[in-house]
Structures are given as C-alpha cells and as structure tokens.
Symmetry: C3
Subunit: 337 residues, 3 copies
C-alpha cells in the first residue's frame, strides 16, 4: 500500500484507513527502527504546535529516519505568503521559493497553516493549503490546514478502537465548547467526518450561531450513508448528550459571524456554561469518554475534574498521533512505498 498524499481522511476509502490503523498497531507492537534509515521529513510550521511538532519528530526517529523543522519564529529570513507582491517590506523570502526548497531536501513534507478566518469560503475550500500543495513534488502531509486535520482524525479513530468504542451504532457527540477566541473549523470538520466514516451515530451540539457550515454537514451525511452511520445537528445540548458514548469537546468560531471578530465575541460571551463538567455526563452512557484534540484551556472548555478524572482520554489521543503518523510515513516513504 503506497500513499502519495495525506490531505484529508475523506480522500481515503475505508480499506485504506483500515490498512493505516492496522499498520499503526503493528508498529506500536513491533518496532522497526531501520525502516526509514536515511529518510528525511521536512516539517513546515506556519502555525503553532506542540503535539504535531513533537510527534512527527518522534515518529521519524522511531523508524530510524529524521526530520528538520522550519517555523517563522526561527531566525529565518521572514516569509512572504501573498502572491504577485513587490517584496520591498520586511520579508526577504517567498513561500514560492521556501516550499520547493525545503521539499527538495526531503522525502516527504508536512505543512501546518491554520485558517485565516476572514473568508469562510476561502477556508472551506482550503485555498491556502491547496496553493502550497501545487509547489510540492514530494509526498505531502497535512499537519492541519484551514479545514482539515487528518492526522488528528486518524489518531482519534484509533483511540476509539483501542478503547472498544463501537463503530456501527456508537453514539458520538461533537460538542462546541467555550473559549475566549474564535478558533478554526479544521478539527470539528475533520472530527465530524471521521466519526461519520467510522459508522457512528453522530450528533453535533452547538449553540445558535455556531452551527457547522452546511457543506461540511452534507459531506459528513454522505459519508455516514456509505458507512451505515448517521449525522444530525442540534442546539439542544441536554438532548444531544443522552446516551452518548463519547463527548468530543471542541472550541470553534461562530459561523454566523465568521470573520467578524467583534460579533463573534459578543455572541460567545454568554456561552461560558459550555464548559464540559461532571453534570454533562448525567444522562450519557455510564462509561462515556471525554475526547479533545488539545491544547485545552482548563476551567474554560473542560473543567479540571473532568480532565483529571477517568473519563478523559486526551493523553491517549495525543499519543496515538505518533502511532498513526508512523503508519502514514511508512506507507509514504517506507519499504515498498
């Protein structure tokens, strides 16, 4: 099985996802410390990172290869991203050179570039990421773009498998959570699609004005139709949580006021009770889990007692980032790729 790009879990068919999950488990159980000897992964971070930064470096090392990191906080020359511009300002290097140059040293490239959050249309179409994709000739990994985060989705899928949370018929609630800032739609979009692909019965619970965009919902419904799952949305959190086996908490922007920071702030400031706490689990399945992609603001999106309690599987999710990414890298540039 060879993988050329890993941009969006939805681009893979179920057998391809299954193959990645199986390989991830194999590499977790039986180390292959020579599989990527002499292989190089370039990691370009245009947005901040902790898990992605760490887990990709660790993934390459465990397979006997290595990586290098480039991010604008380093002493590089300043990166210009706008096209057609006369570069007489501060930035001395354009992404049109930086991306091909970095790629030219590597067997595979990972790029992280968060949503600009000014135009919903641009972000939904992943315009910026797709423009960079044009510049790359080696296998490419999406380390979170405006609207995708396939590495997180693969890790979350594996985490639910590890925990024995059912695929068909499993009840998955993706719940909006409070946060002082308007965060991107990448994780909620990717998570919704992942759970739908996995065959689960998915409910998106969000306050009014924070409903996920219709194109995202439609795409997920189509995936659910194929997998035997279901997708629905509601503003009624209490109703959504009944019988849930997973509460996946995530903060995101108002979609009604997308790109309008002030209107978003005004809308969200009354929603501070969307902080996952013990009472949320009153009507869920007894062993309902709390999932979150991290970073999580304690006491804001989720309370300390939930994060520190037995329901939370956030560290397992984070660790599965590494095992999942090792499978992706192995299929991209490993033996037989």
């Amino acid at each position: 099985m060879s993988l050329k790009e890993f941009n969006d879990l939805a681009e893979l068919d179920p057998a391809a996802v299954e193959s990645l999950l199986k390989l991830a488990r194999r590499l977790q159980d039986r180390p292959e410390p020579q599989a990527l000897a002499g292989k190089v992964l370039a990691l370009l971070f245009l947005s901040p990172s902790l898990r992605t930064l760490s887990s990709f470096q660790a993934a390459m090392l465990r397979l006997g290869g290595g990586s290098f990191v480039i991010s604008p906080d380093m002493s590089i020359h300043g990166l210009e991203t706008r096209s057609g511009i006369v570069m007489d300002g501060a930035a001395a290097e354009h992404l049109r050179e930086a991306v091909p140059v970095i790629s030219s040293y590597a067997d595979a490239l990972g790029i992280r570039a968060f949503a600009n959050r000014s135009s919903l249309e641009d972000d939904l179409s992943d315009r910026e990421y797709k423009a960079m994709r044009e510049l790359v000739t080696v296998p490419l990994i999406n380390m979170e773009s405006a609207i995708q985060h396939p590495c997180q989705s693969l890790a979350d899928w594996k985490t639910m498998d590890d925990l024995g949370i059912p695929r068909q018929g499993g009840k998955f609630v993706l719940s909006w959570a409070w946060h002082p800032r308007a965060l991107p739609l990448a994780v909620p979009s990717a998570t919704l699609h992942m759970a739908a692909m996995r065959g689960m019965d998915v409910t998106v619970a969000a306050p009014e004005g924070f409903e996920l965009p219709e194109p995202i919902m439609a795409r997920a419904r189509a995936a659910a139709e194929h997998s035997g799952g279901s997708v629905r949305a509601t503003n009624d959190r209490a109703e959504a949580l009944e019988g849930a086996q997973v509460i996946y908490a995530k903060e995101w922007s108002s979609t009604r006021h997308y790109g309008d920071r002030l209107a978003d702030a005004e809308l969200r400031e009354q929603l501070q009770d969307w902080c996952v706490d013990d009472p949320w689990f009153g009507t869920t399945a007894p062993d309902c889990r709390l999932m979150h992609c991290l970073p999580v603001r304690r006491g804001v999106a989720v309370t300390d007692r939930v994060l520190d309690g037995p329901r939370s599987v956030v560290i397992q999710e984070a660790q599965n980032r590494m095992w999942g990414q090792m499978a992706v890298l192995y299929q991209m540039i490993g033996p037989g790729a």
Copy 2:
C-alpha cells in the same frame, strides 16, 4: 544496571555513581552508535540552556537514537504552570497536559526548570520539579531544577577523575563569585554534595549573607561522614583558599535576603572583588584548577586571564556533560535496561 530516574546524585549510592563513571569512560573510548536505535529522548526546557541543549542531543545521536526539544520560546501554544487556574488568559496549554503528552512520545524525558527564587522553602524542597515528576511515566532526567543539577555533578566528578584530582583528602573550595543578578542555588548545592560524596575536604567560601542554607550543609555533612570527607563553611576567602586543589567558582543568591531582589542587589554590589583572578591562586596548591559550570561572565565572576590560562578546565567539564549523560541514558533506556 538499570536507572529509572536521575533527579539528584544523592539518591544514588557510591557504587551506582562508580558504575555511571565507568560506563561514561567506556562509551567515550568505544563508540556504540546503535545502542539506542529507534529510541527517543524528549527535552523540555522551561529555562534557558546551551550545554544541556547541545549535549543531550549529541548524546542521543552518538548512541544512534534521537531527541526533540520543546521550549516556550518556540511557536507553541503558551504554557500555563499554575494549578487550579481558569485558563482565560494568554496561555492555551497547561503543563498538566504538555508533560504527559511529550512523555508519551518518548522513551525518556529531561526537564529543566530553574528556581523561581521567591520562596526558599519551595526551592529547597524542589516543589515545582516534584509536581512535574508526578505527571511522568517514562524515565526522567533532571536537567536542572530549583535545587538539583545531577548531570553537572556527574560531569564534574568525572572531570576531577580525568585530571587525577584525589578523592580522599582532595581539597575542594566552592567559592561564591560575583554576578549582577541573584542566581539559583541548584549548582552550588549539587556541587557541594558531589564533592562531599566524592570524599573530598570541602570548604564553602561565601560572603556574609550568602551562606548556603543549613539543610543543604547538613545533607552534605552526612554524605561526607559516609565517604570519609569533610564539609565546612567560612566567610574568610583567603583562609579557605590555602592549599586548595580546586576552586569551583559559582554565583548565587543571597540566602539572607532570598526572594528580596532589592536587598540582595544592595548586599552584592559591594562584592565585586569576588571575581576569581590570578592572586586567588597565591596560596593554593601549585596545580590548583579553576572549575565553573558555565555560562560564566568574563571579567565579572572570573577574569579573562584565568579562563584563558592553564588552570581553567571549564571546557573539559562541559564536554564531560555529554559522556556522563550518555551513561545515564544508556542505563535508562539502553540494551539491558
């Protein structure tokens, strides 16, 4: 010999230290570039570093493994360290998640977190480091905490062995040195204990108001009793230096005014003659060495002519950081660990 933690040299018995020193010498003489193939060391720096940052990366590479570095100066999400806080400020990630997440990618973890220097009691008890230690499930290495720096101590011990400086009966002077700022007690505490464990006759020379805290002195006296060495303290520098085989210079905070920056500054400003210079060696042993853990401020703590002269062994000490740490890593996660 297997090592689960390396928090404090005092936690090891003399045979365990001997075993590390012997292994360090073996790895220096006979490279083992496959010993840690596929193994990953996570390095978390909450405080600045040059030697530790470089030498741990080099140590892993020489043994065929690798490492990744996380520090707050990177483009990460901002790290909150206070517990029980509502995270609605700038920091988006809490150490309670960051530490377990980073650990989950690694076979071993190193943490550096300097003393806060507000409460002497907190710093002496290594409260912050011990709280992080609770969050870690993989072998842990102290890369300098509020009150410990075992990697430096192991390197310094090896350096004295390399140079033939006697253990039993060797005369070791730990001298306070001038510096414009109030630095932590970690290196002086760890150094005092190391020299006492090594069986040396140790004198701590410091100006009034800068005496090392009694719990540190008492612990060192107990170690000396066990090793056949001795420990004493004096404010009389001239007397302390007579017959010294090693002057170990180190800058540290006023203990009389601990946490009181202004009172400390007032006290230290008259002490600029505590800059190690040629005359300090007038009554020492003829081949007396100058040791310092670095970084050293030239012309402030030690003069150029001493640092550039034949007495200085500061570069050897720094290099021994690598060999010592290779031994620690090998015992922690190497073959047979």
Copy 3:
C-alpha cells in the same frame, strides 16, 4: 581524500573540487545511510538561514548521522562576541566558551556569521570568522562568513555541471541586483571566484559605486589565469549581458560607501531598474539561465515571470547545497576521513 576545513573554495586545488563534485554525484545516485552513523554535526547560526539550516540537517540525516542547532533566537543565555569586555550587561555567555563547548560535542562544526558591514577591511579579511576558527579543534565548515560562502559556490558549480553549462569558454555574468538594504559581499565574492576557478569568462556588471573591491577582483583574476578563464568588470549592463549563458543575480552593498548606510541608501534608490526581467535576456544566449543563491525578493531583485519561468534554476541550486555538503561532510568525518 580527507578534508580538515571548508572555509573558502579558493583554498582547494581544482582536483579537490573535482573530487567533491564527483562524490556529491555519487551520494546523490547511491545513498549511504550508514556512512556517518553516530556522528554529530554542530550548527552555530549567528545569522539567519533557511537553506543552510535545512540542508545541513538533511545532509547529516541522509548519511545516518545527526546534528544540533544553536542560534541566538533560542532560549540560550545571550551570546557576547566582543573580546576583553566586562560582561555585566545582558549577555551571560561569551563566544570564547560557547564555540569550544559546542565543538566539544561534535565531530564537525558549521558556523554562520554574516559581515558586520562597518569596516570593509575587517570584512575582506574575514576577521570575525578567523577569530572563531582559532577556538575550534574539530573540522570546521564556513556556512557563510563576512566574505566567503564555499557551500553555495560548490552547489552552484555542480548546478552548472548538471545543466551542461560549459566550463572553458562558458560566459558567466555576475550582475548586481536591486534590494532595499545593503547586503554582504560574501556571495558575490565567492561566486566570482568560483566561476573564475571553473574556467569561465566572467563579467561582473554593477552600477557605479557598487564595483567589487579590487582585492576580490585580483584574486579572481589570478584564479582565472590558472584555469584558462577570464575576469572583467563593467558598469555597462547591456554590454555585459551579450551572449551570456548564465546571469547570476546578486544584491550587495555599495563599496564606495561601505558602512555608510545613508549614502548607500541614497545611491541605490535610483537603481530599481536592476531587477532581472525578461528583456535582460534579449541579447544573451538563447538558453541563458538565471541563477540566484536565495532568498530572493520577488519584484525587487528578479521579477515573478523570470523566477517562475524556465530560465530559473534557483531551486536546483538550493537542492545542490545538500548534495555538495554531503560530500564535504563525508570527506571530513566519513569512512576513511
């Protein structure tokens, strides 16, 4: 063939350059992922970097070794570079310690330190780099100093070989290009010398006040005499470009007003037409190439249409940095070195 230092391409005889180029091609064609197992390269960046930072890390990884990076933008202790100073300011560490310490962990060391651009004499004599060179005991690589950039020159030489651009009789134009700031002379000096050593007929085209310094020109003329090439300079760009097979564009300081930022700025502000564009190729050889070391300011030094068109070989040059450096590292610290 063993290499102890790589400071300046001019220090190598033609057979040594040939040997490096041949080895670079071999390593490009036949990977040797174990050649540098357990070997460590230290990379000290006192100036910004993208290609050098990436390509050296990738080079070590492809040969089975590894590297670590130190730069002042990291959370290190602040680096003092002036000698004889009393260090009671912000910097806590002196290069006189930092360089030997970093070297002590490594099998080879790379240093980047751009020109200070205050004294032409200091920069031409590479005073700062040579001072650091005194502190290093392991093999040393110049990653761009005040006046040298041998890694770039080796890559550029290989790029022309790869493209079949003739050595003897090849027409090479090194052209000044516009830039808002006064950049160093390292790349133009190194490039001129490289093309002369390669046996090409070299023309330096620059506006009045930007002529390359006579010592640089004289040294290149001597190299050309030896190789059968030629070197000349002109202010007449149109005449220079006739029949060119390569236009190598590079931005550099006014040499008439070296170190005088205001006078330089005044002189250069009328020279914005020195931006390489399609009309420049009107009288060149039909397949004339555009070379540039990068980073390049689009619309300032070179237009978008030239950079995005078929004449541009800037990405190939950048990639050849890696292959060339692999050859240098292999000869320095590889099998048989």
